[in-house]
């Protein structure tokens, strides 16, 4: 019954997320509503980690697979995509490299700065 209980929790949060997405006029997807509510429930203790962990980890572990149908869906828009494919690909490749690098380097710089401050603090104590 362990998995049944876990699935009930996860589907319940998914369902509430879907409902909020349908009812509220915000551009927030159902999954993100569900994520925020599950996180709040875990923090407040309404749901325990052990209530969702095994099924949750299974879903996270297989997540990559879930993108295949949507990715294959590109084949159904080839007639609109082909004329702009080359500029699109060039822009996406360059932009993704820039975004990933800048985000990573900004985070690294701040983390390094913080760590060196902490070391100094420890040394002065």
């Amino acid at each position: 019954m362990k998995f049944v209980k876990e699935i009930v929790w996860i589907i319940a949060f998914t369902f509430i997320g879907e409902a909020l997405n349908a009812l509220l006029p915000l551009p927030v997807p159902a999954g993100v509503y569900g994520l925020i509510l599950l996180l709040l429930s875990l923090v407040t203790g309404l749901v325990k980690l052990s209530d969702v962990e095994a099924t949750g980890n299974f879903l996270l572990d297989t997540m990559t697979l879930m993108f295949i149908p949507a990715a294959v869906g590109i084949m159904s828009v080839t007639d609109v995509l082909l004329p702009v494919l080359i500029p699109y690909i060039i822009m996406i490749v360059i932009s993704t490299i820039i975004v990933m690098t800048v985000t990573g380097l900004v985070a690294s710089a701040i983390l390094k700065h913080k760590e060196s401050k902490n070391i100094k603090k420890e040394a002065s104590v």
């Binding site: 998914t14 993108f67 590109i74 996406i92 993704t96 990933m100 985070a107 701040i110």
Partner: protein, 231 residues
């Protein structure tokens, strides 16, 4: 015979999973970044359907089971975030500065390159939300006057690319901290990047999950501002 097979409730499912397993096997044998399992299984799937003249909708009617699991899986991203909550709180400055910097770079780079390639405003609006999760990106694109079907394609291509190049980028630019890696993956390549981050580790996964939410919200706020400069 062919009809009976392709109309089976499990046809799309077994095709997707089997090709994915095959792609994972190829990757582990040849260890090349280009052999990204998601990319290769998608391409093999498209080739298979095209070659056997099977319409996408037939495939989708049984493969959509996988799609259906995506929302509960997104909900479960709360699990790594909860486990790493202390780390998130302790590093709020780094987290928010990095995601903001990344999101601004995403919008500016698309805007500048779009102008360089003299793309129409419609196409620029289509690509502005390329780094955020599909469900948010579709709304942003529609609001900004983009072509929603192409936005979805752009978001998926971005995700697969990010998933594919992450490890090389981290090596080249010496991005070694798990927090930095997670933020970089989630901000640049949304949920598909997060799937990669989860493979790298729990801290990476948690940071990447948070980035999906924050980068998504920031993009919703910033795109109308960027878009007003187009007119």
């Amino acid at each position: 015979m062919k009809e009976a097979i392709i109309n089976s409730n499990y046809f799309g499912l077994i095709l997707s999973i089997a090709l994915f397993v095959l792609a994972v096997e190829l990757k582990s044998r040849f260890k090349l970044a280009i052999l990204n399992p998601l990319l290769i299984s998608t391409l093999m799937c498209i080739a298979f359907l095209t070659f056997l003249d099977i319409p996408y909708d037939t495939y989708k009617s049984s493969a959509c089971m996988l799609n259906f699991l995506l929302t509960p899986a997104t909900v479960c991203l709360a699990i790594p975030m909860y486990k790493q909550l202390k780390l998130l709180k302790d590093n709020l400055l780094a987290v928010f500065s990095a995601i903001t910097a990344g999101t601004c770079c995403s919008l500016l780079s698309i805007l500048v390159m779009g102008k360089l390639f003299s793309l129409s405003d419609e196409h620029i609006a289509t690509l502005l939300p390329k780094s955020i999760t599909t469900a948010i990106g579709m709304g942003v694109s529609e609001e900004a006057g983009g072509i929603v079907t192409l936005t979805v394609a752009g978001i998926i291509i971005t995700g697969i690319l990010g998933n594919m190049i992450a490890e090389s980028i981290f090596k080249i630019f010496h991005i070694t901290h798990p927090i930095a890696k997670g933020l970089a993956l989630g901000t640049s390549a949304h949920a598909v990047g997060t799937a990669k981050a989860l493979e790298l580790g729990e801290v990476e996964g948690a940071m990447s999950s948070l980035s999906i939410c924050v980068a998504g919200i920031l993009t919703v706020i910033l795109v109308p501002i960027v878009n007003s400069t187009l007119v």
